[in-house]
């Protein structure tokens, strides 16, 4: 007997993207601009009459966020969907939760779906905590009676008893997120679709959420879960699906899918296409950046066991005195670390600068790379951010803390952690 609750057949989702071909022209004449705007206006008017989508730009490109994706999910399965940024994970969830419809193919879903693509969807800042619980609950598909029944439980989970009648705009961000997640966690749909929700809140609360997710899974509900945090995916999902550039390339037990994810490299080209630098320093051109010997056009997945070696290559058009190269890593917009070489003279010609971070310096997660150079004396610089991203995925030994939360990773032997007896006992002892 088949107990398939979600069956997707050849699912595809296409978006149309417009480009402005004019941007590639060297200069633009006002006459051309006017001509183009008039043409564009005519086109828009035509589209308006026909009820079609208007796309900015005069070159239209098709982009398949999902293509030919087929899978089955059975009742009670907890499935983790993984893949790089732009692989189509969120699009898949949006299609499954009916927010957008597929361009081709079809999905058959048995049972009530609740989707949780964001924490606190529909929260209104002017309304009180109590009012928002009802509002958010209704938006997520709970009935009034259901919310009433679970109200106390939700409030207790969120730990906001005292502030129930305060408008949520006066909440701290932590309280806000806790309340929002608490409502969502008490949904009881047959199928739960969750995206990235655990990316918010402090570490304690993330743990609590993970625990709650585990409970939901044990209660026999079907859960689809997307996260960039491969660590948390692997702890709660027994089954995994791996997406790459809109295609489903692996579907099976989580451990196998994860190991395939680690193997992903080359030709996984997404995002960050150009090396762009700015700054007043002339004469230094950085032409390529590579990570562990791979060009950055390929998004890199690095195991936490590997050293991370970043190479910056380019050409100096003239001799430059007192130049210092830098490489920096960012995590969610926060600059984690920057390293330089000493100020040295750079002779005309090719150059290569290399900077290596030891293995296990950083916790698993996604990092972006910035690089540049600066003349120490003249304060002229050139700098480029978001040059490429790299993901560190977990392979932990016993020597390290296997908990993925945080950014910095230190070997256990470097961190002094020890339990002491309470102060009172201590005095008695001496």
């Amino acid at each position: 007997m088949s107990d398939v609750v979600i069956r997707a057949e050849h699912l595809g989702k296409r978006y149309l993207i417009g480009h402005q071909s004019a941007e590639r022209e060297r200069y633009t004449a006002l006459r051309d601009v006017i001509g183009r705007s008039l043409k564009g206006l005519g086109q828009s008017a035509l589209d308006l009459v026909r009820g079609r989508q208007i796309i900015a730009g005069d070159e239209i490109e098709e982009f398949w966020a999902l293509r030919d994706v087929s899978f089955e999910i059975r009742r009670g399965e907890v499935v983790g969907i993984i893949g790089r940024n732009g692989a189509g994970k969120s699009t898949l969830l949006k299609v499954l939760s009916r927010i957008t419809e597929p361009t081709e193919g079809r999905v058959t879903i048995k049972g009530r779906v609740a989707s949780l693509l964001e924490v606190g969807t529909g929260f209104h800042p002017e309304l009180t905590g109590r009012e928002n619980i009802y509002l958010n609950g209704a938006i997520l598909g709970m009935t009034r009676a259901e919310i009433k029944r679970k109200f106390d439980e939700i409030v207790a989970f969120a730990e906001v008893e005292k502030f129930l009648d305060t408008p949520v705009k006066r909440y701290s961000s932590g309280m806000y997120v806790r309340l929002a997640f608490a409502v969502a966690a008490h949904l009881e749909p047959e199928i739960l679709v969750v995206d990235e929700v655990l990316a918010v809140g402090d570490a304690d609360f993330q743990k609590k959420c993970l625990g709650k997710m585990g409970e939901v899974a044990k209660a026999g509900r079907t859960v689809l879960f997307v996260s960039h945090n491969t660590g948390s995916v692997s702890t709660i999902c027994e089954k995994g699906m791996l997406l790459r550039a809109g295609n489903l390339i692996a579907d099976g037990p989580m451990s196998e899918v994860l190991s395939q994810y680690r193997g992903l490299k080359q030709s996984d080209v997404t995002a960050m296409p150009h090396l762009q630098f700015r700054g007043p320093l002339r004469g230094v051109r950085i032409t390529s950046i590579e990570i562990n010997g791979h060009p950055t056009a390929e998004l890199r997945v690095v195991s936490s066991d590997d050293d991370i070696s970043i190479g910056v290559r380019g050409r100096a058009d003239e001799d430059i005195a007192n130049l210092r190269f830098s490489v920096a890593l960012f995590h969610r917009g926060l600059r984690i670390v920057t390293c330089h070489d000493g100020p040295e003279n750079l002779p005309v010609g090719e150059f290569e600068f290399r900077c290596t971070f030891p293995a296990r310096s950083f916790r698993p997660g996604e990092y972006t790379l910035a690089a540049g150079a600066r003349r120490v004396a003249g304060d002229e610089w050139v700098w480029g951010t978001d040059l490429c991203s790299l993901e560190i995925i977990p392979v932990w030994g016993a020597e390290y803390d296997s908990d993925d939360i945080g950014i910095v990773n230190l070997p256990r032997r470097l961190v002094r952690s020890k339990r002491y007896a309470p102060v009172g006992n201590d005095q008695a002892g001496r």
Binding site: S44, G105, I109, A138, I139, L140, G263
Partner: protein, 315 residues
């Protein structure tokens, strides 16, 4: 990598189209059985496919009636939170409009009233449906863009959002209606049995505004310039509709044409039932207005539903 044996899907053997249809049919029967037993609450089957969203649409809307109620309540609650004049604003605006219109049209232009109706009452009876109409039109047309975060994150029939905002306009209407009652007491004016038809005309006013509102709100998702059109329609419409004067002052040969403005029918209807026998309805014009209302309603819903599926991609 070596572990790529079992979990790769080169060409999925399960994708036998005929077989899948069979499975779907089979599960559909199990679902009806479950529904008959009545214990499993929602063994419903949803099929997502391009162009498929149509089915079960109205049943879905019924299913989401609680969301409708709570969104309407939210809009009303938010409107009066942290405002000082809040409700007073709903009183001051129509009152001042009534005073100005009475002076300009009644005193300066010396337009005749309907029968022996005091001019302020005539104006107010016309303003009631007009403010309802313009309120719904302006609230609803911005509603989808204003709720973009909901649309891109949760599924529900999108029709819920603009219609829920209509409730805000109805609350204001209730306030205005109470003012009219006071005004009638003040002038000692007694309406007769025709006032029993008022609910029907309120419904007509709501329908007359929902149609264009749905159309414009759907357009507004794609082309944000439509939001500038609404204030214009509202300002312009106030003068081309018989708000400050009785539609009886319009010359006889133009009255049918005047009925093309759907609000004319609505306002005439309101005056007819509020002002007792004093105000007469010009029936051919009224029928034309009804036709225009019905057309806009049909067209608005149709356009809304045709574009609704792409809202999340565009908003």
């Amino acid at each position: 990598m070596s572990t790529t044996s079992s979990n790769v899907l080169p060409a999925d053997p399960r994708m036998n189209v005929l077989g899948d249809h069979k499975v779907t049919a089979a599960s559909a029967t199990t679902s009806t059985q479950a529904a008959m037993k009545g214990d499993e609450p929602s063994q419903l089957i949803t099929i997502l496919e391009a162009g498929r969203a149509e089915r079960n649409y109205w049943r879905d809307i019924w299913h989401y009636r609680e969301l409708f109620a709570i969104l309407a309540w939210r809009d009303v609650a938010v409107r009066y939170k942290q405002t000082v004049i809040g409700v007073a604003w709903a009183i001051v605006r129509p009152f001042l409009t009534m005073v100005v219109f009475t002076i300009i049209f009644g005193q300066i232009a010396k337009l005749p009233s309907d029968g022996s109706v005091p001019y302020p009452i005539l104006v107010f009876a016309g303003m009631l449906p007009w403010f309802l109409f313009s309120g719904i039109l302006s609230e609803a047309s911005n509603s989808l863009v204003g709720n973009a975060n909901l649309i891109s994150k949760v599924y529900f029939p999108r029709l819920v959002i603009p219609t829920a905002t209509a409730v805000v306009a109805l609350v204001d209407f209730a306030v205005n209606f109470a003012m009219l009652a006071l005004l009638m007491v003040w002038f000692g004016f007694v309406p007769n049995w025709q006032i029993l038809f008022l609910p029907a005309f309120i419904a007509l006013a709501v329908l007359a505004s929902i149609g264009p509102a749905l159309w414009i709100t759907a357009l507004n998702v794609r082309y944000r310039d439509f939001r500038y059109i609404i204030p214009f329609i509202v300002q312009f419409g106030l003068y081309v509709s018989p708000v400050g004067f009785s539609s009886a002052v319009v010359p006889e040969q133009w009255r049918l044409l005047y009925g093309l403005n759907p609000v004319v029918g609505v306002i005439d209807g309101f005056r007819w039932c509020l002002l007792g026998g004093e105000s007469q309805i010009y029936w051919p014009g009224f029928a034309l207005s009804l036709g225009v209302v019905a057309f806009f309603l049909w067209f608005g819903i149709r356009y809304f539903r045709a574009t609704e599926r792409t809202f999340a991609d565009m908003v």
